[in-house]
């Protein structure tokens, strides 16, 4: 256990890192989308557009901060705050490396025995930000967006929870660091098919949970303007954007930690450079980058679901597939191993 002030400083540094990463993720996303759509993307501000996030930040801070006259003032201001606070808190439980590997410090903020549940709990409270914002705006498009988001998130949480179960059953622990050290893929080749199914189901549910294309119905701009954030401007709008990107990063890190060995490096590199697997942060960030790229790639390639398709997909396919993966894992553990 770290002393309290060390934890505090680490939490502060993590928040700053996440917000910095958010700023540059917006640039990377726009540049990549540009590439995929045969255009250039923002490249005028600074070399390669590297100063674009600064310009965006200055713009959103100095824009007029509108509070809608008929809005529920308290909830209207509270909602974006909830979003960003819970988005930032969720990341703290993700381990960035083995104990004591970061210059003698532990590369995580908190090491919880129930790390998996902590992240699920904190992200499930984060939903309140989205759908209170939509309600407090007192506008029908915003309300539609928030209703969509709550129905969607509850539906896909089932798929998410069920596909985590496979990993938990194999590793026998809820501690994220122990799951990484255990290495769920190394147990038996019999477990590979259910794990692979659970992995795919988990990635899909995670994309739905962070409201990314093709699941971005809460902010579908062709149908309901901008959904829950229609009436938000200036810094409050920016807070929602931050929360969305931080949630994406948490999802990417969570997927990597559960299914892809988290902070540990690949065995091939370990054989070439002994000890490389112990490097903190590096491998986790690389794995996160893969998933962030996947999220952007999907946004450029897939059209949005229709609402009834979204519900049918979540309840009739994803849920059953995740359940099958769980049962299969249980059967393999009970009868084969």
């Amino acid at each position: 256990m770290d002393p309290l002030w060390v934890t505090f400083i680490k939490a502060l540094v993590l928040c700053l890192l996440l917000l910095g990463a958010f700023a540059y993720m917006t640039l990377i996303e726009r540049r990549l989308l540009g590439r995929m759509q045969h255009r250039r993307g923002p490249n005028r501000t600074g070399p390669f557009g590297l100063l674009q996030p600064m310009a965006d930040a200055i713009k959103s801070v100095f824009k007029e901060d509108i509070i809608v006259t008929n809005a529920d003032k308290v909830v209207y201001v509270l909602a974006p705050t909830i979003s960003i606070v819970f988005a930032l808190s969720a990341f703290g439980a993700i381990p960035g490396g083995p104990a004591g590997s970061l210059f003698g410090l532990n590369p995580w903020v908190v090491d919880l025995d129930i790390g998996v549940l902590y992240i699920l709990a904190v992200t499930s409270v984060g939903v309140y930000g989205i759908f209170l914002g939509g309600w407090a705006s007192n506008s029908k498009y915003a309300l539609l967006g928030s209703l969509r988001s709550s129905a969607q998130i509850i539906s896909y949480e089932l798929g998410l929870g069920l596909s985590v179960l496979s990993v938990i059953m194999i590793a026998g622990t809820l501690n994220l660091r122990e799951i990484v050290e255990f290495g769920v893929w190394t147990v038996s080749p019999w477990l590979w098919p259910p794990l692979a199914i659970a992995f795919v189901a988990f990635v899909i549910s995670a994309i739905a949970e962070v409201n990314r294309t093709p699941f971005d119905l809460p902010e579908a701009e062709q149908e309901i303007v901008a959904g829950y954030m229609t009436e938000y401007s200036s810094i409050k709008w920016a807070l929602y954007q931050m929360a969305e990107y931080v949630n994406m990063m948490t999802a990417a890190a969570f997927i990597s930690t559960l299914f892809l060995g988290g902070y540990r490096g690949p065995a091939v590199v370990e054989r070439l450079i002994p000890g490389s697997s112990e490097w903190p942060i590096v491998w986790l960030v690389l794995k996160m980058a893969i998933f962030m790229f996947l999220f952007i790639w999907l946004r450029a390639s897939l059209p949005r679901f229709r609402y009834d398709q979204l519900m049918r997909f979540g309840w009739l396919y994803l849920f059953e597939v995740a359940l099958a993966a769980t049962l299969l894992t249980g059967a393999v553990i009970a009868f084969v191993l």
Binding site: S124, V127, F131, L132, W315
Partner: protein, 198 residues
């Protein structure tokens, strides 16, 4: 002790908010606050697993459904209706019940158990112990509760279902298309969400 006093104050204020706030959404939010404070209570008692479950189940699922329904039905602020005496009656009953609870708690002859004993029983508050209680000691009761919840859910679905046309087995393509269109019109039909309750 200071932590406990602070948390207790916050949770009581939240609970009062649930009862006193006129706007249903505000009342529901006060309830969310109270539930989150209860989760923090569990954390201070080193029962981390219970705290996480409290947040996931109550704040993350049940209260989201509550708020969803309040928003969907667009419930307005309630003003005193045709029977103003009803509120005073309710206040009286509430005060009586609270007084009874306090007297009952103070008159209870049982002692608070030694914290060391409680800590030993909790064993760090991890999932394993609770799983043992649920899935070994009280297996039958646990399964029966599951069946009960399932029954309640099937009952709710049966109650809200509209009567089907006699040839339900062979719906024409036209009718199905019309049904789809109708469903598309309403975001998040309540039946779909009903089935999502845990």
């Amino acid at each position: 002790m200071v932590t406990f006093a602070l948390l207790a104050a916050v949770s009581v204020v939240g609970a009062l908010g649930v009862v006193l706030l006129r706007q249903p959404i505000h009342a529901a939010l006060a309830l969310v606050g109270t539930l989150l404070t209860l989760a923090v209570f569990f954390v201070t008692l080193q029962a981390h697993f219970l705290a996480a479950i409290q947040v996931i189940v109550y704040a993350g699922a049940i209260m989201v459904l509550f708020l969803f329904v309040i928003m969907l039905l667009n419930v307005e602020e309630q003003h005193a209706g045709a029977r103003p005496w009803l509120r005073w009656l309710a206040y009286g009953v509430g005060v009586l019940a609270a007084a009874g609870l306090i007297v009952g708690a103070l008159a209870d002859p049982r002692q608070i158990p030694d914290p060391a004993l409680a800590r030993a029983a909790l064993r760090g508050g991890n999932a394993g112990l609770i799983a043992e209680v649920l899935f070994v000691d009280f297996m039958l009761a646990f399964q029966l509760v599951g069946v009960l919840l399932l029954t309640a859910m099937v009952g709710a679905v049966a109650l809200v279902q509209r009567p089907q046309p006699p040839s339900a087995g062979a719906i024409s393509a036209e009718a199905r298309e019309a049904g789809l269109k109708e469903r598309r019109g309403r975001p998040g039909s309540p039946e779909v969400v009903e089935a999502g309750g845990r």
